[in-house]
Symmetry: C2
């Protein structure tokens, strides 16, 4: 079917996640109808906020591992935003089947549904971790070799590869976005969330995995979504790849100090030591964003501002402790 | 268990294929015991030749999609050569599930078996097609972005990515070999095989898909296997990637002329036109092999010699027509 009526019909997998919710509202603002497909394993419907009452919004609780259960949701779609994934990199290391199933196999089912229903475009939330341990900073999109460290990264790259093959073989257009650390309201994982949770359990000390010098770039969710929408608008056939991040970094140690300060400043920070926080961790991450900037994108917040804002937001969400 | 006794115990998936058979004999020559795991869908036990009677040779007919059926074969293994795949790129375009199952899922099961049985090393037959349509020739291992054109290429890249994650996470060592077109005795697919089969059906004309100018490099099976063994010998932790090919090319048109000449020279060559032979075809392929050459590898035959020898060999195998 596809774009017969000229109306935009978006499917957002993982649309009940922290990034998905912001994207859903932005798509509705642009006049699109939106179907969220989410299994609510880590997503929460409150992330879509006011969108839930919008006449053009539809929510389908379904598991992407089950191809039959998602098929009908893709009928009539003109664009797919495939954001769903296992959000917990460390859990994937303990149970590698998780990322195979919620990564590669889920993406395959989404692509097959897209092909069946002749959906013209697919956007995919990939990750900086596909670069493995890069030796070039900021890392550009054409960096190689791509040797991911984690199961999560492996199945992000596998999904990219399948999207590329589908776009080249079946006339679809794809846009791959490789995310830095995206932070904002509604987060349920990540370093800031972990630190706040640890302090909630024990306000006297904060354990930091690694030596605290792991330095990464952080991007505010709303800035990420403006990049997603621009990439969609400027999509080139058959496929395009964009890094999305800020070109500044914040270290894990700095985030720990900021979180401790925000919580009253009395906790002792204890580093466990070692270059990496955990197996599969990438100690240094900084993406070149020249390509998407050249199309006119500029993030409103730098890494440090995004971190500050995320700490304040999350602290409010988690409530007093 | 792993390498407790100091004895080399190799598992070769797809060991009944045209490359596998040569590798199996070479491993036995090096004193290793060899277990071939093959579903015989395209492989044939005669490809291992005399190895079949060797006391250290064992053959297990099993399907890599079924994790339980292959597990026991990996017990006590010290090295895994994972060569099995769907060999037909074009069939994968028509049925994308084939490469998901015989590519990514099969590789995942092999990796999980390797992890369970603490196998120290895995070698993987990847392909030049992971480079998609490269813009640099000869293409080096660090080329990016990796945007495969075919399902086959997508799942080769997906398998590479999973191997990388397993090696980084669980202490295994991996060697990824990206193959040019490997040709030699026992082939059951590929351009030379296709041309000979077409002439068998109709000796008056030979249809060439595309404009005949698709130019690729060809590597003789025995040269490929000497590269595989050298890569194993020099394996670096946690993972290494090597291109394997010759740095000369032969065009599809030249191969057509050679095949027609070998068959008596009377067939008319008809090009179907277009830059590519078929959806997912890569019109130009030339790999940089500097990295493996620096370790001391030199192929005995160039592309043209390999093609000539393959035509003669295959003609003899297919019998008079």
């Amino acid at each position: 079917m596809g774009d017969v009526s000229g109306e935009r019909c978006a499917v957002v997998t993982g649309g009940a996640g922290a990034i998905g919710g912001v994207l859903v509202r932005a798509l509705l603002d642009q006049g699109a109808s939106v179907t969220v497909v989410d299994n609510l394993s880590s997503g929460r419907l409150e992330n879509v906020g006011t969108a839930n009452a919008h006449p053009k919004f539809r929510f389908v609780q379904a598991d992407l591992r089950d191809a039959a259960s998602i098929d009908a949701s893709f009928r009539g779609a003109t664009e797919i935003w495939h954001l769903a994934a296992n959000p917990d990199i460390r859990r994937g290391t303990a149970e590698p089947k998780l990322d195979l199933e919620f990564g590669t196999i889920a993406t395959f089912h989404v692509l097959e549904a897209a092909r069946r229903h002749e959906v013209g475009w697919i956007g995919f939330s990939s990750s900086s971790v596909v670069y493995g341990l890069p030796t070039v900073f900021p890392t550009p999109e054409e960096y190689g070799p791509l040797l991911p460290q984690s199961q999560y990264g492996a199945h992000k790259l596998a999904s990219e590869a399948m999207i590329s093959a589908f776009c080249h073989s079946y006339g679809m257009t794809g846009t791959i976005y490789r995310f830095a650390n995206i932070i904002g309201p509604g987060m349920t994982h990540g370093v800031i969330y972990d630190f706040l949770k640890k302090l909630e359990r024990d306000p006297t000390r904060l354990e930091v995995l690694g030596d605290g010098r792991q330095a990464k770039s952080y991007l505010w969710t709303a800035d990420c979504v403006s990049g997603l929408l621009l990439g969609r608008e400027k999509a080139r056939r058959p496929i395009d790849v964009f890094n999305l991040g800020t070109e500044t970094q914040v270290s894990a140690g700095e985030i720990a100090r900021k979180v401790v300060a925000a919580c009253g400043g009395s906790a002792r920070i204890e580093m466990t030591g070692g270059e990496r926080g955990w197996i599969g961790d990438i100690p240094r991450q900084l993406l070149s964003t020249q390509k998407i900037r050249a199309l006119g994108w500029t993030p409103r917040l730098g890494s440090e501002q995004a971190v500050d804002q995320a700490i304040a937001t999350l602290q409010a969400e988690l409530g007093p402790h």
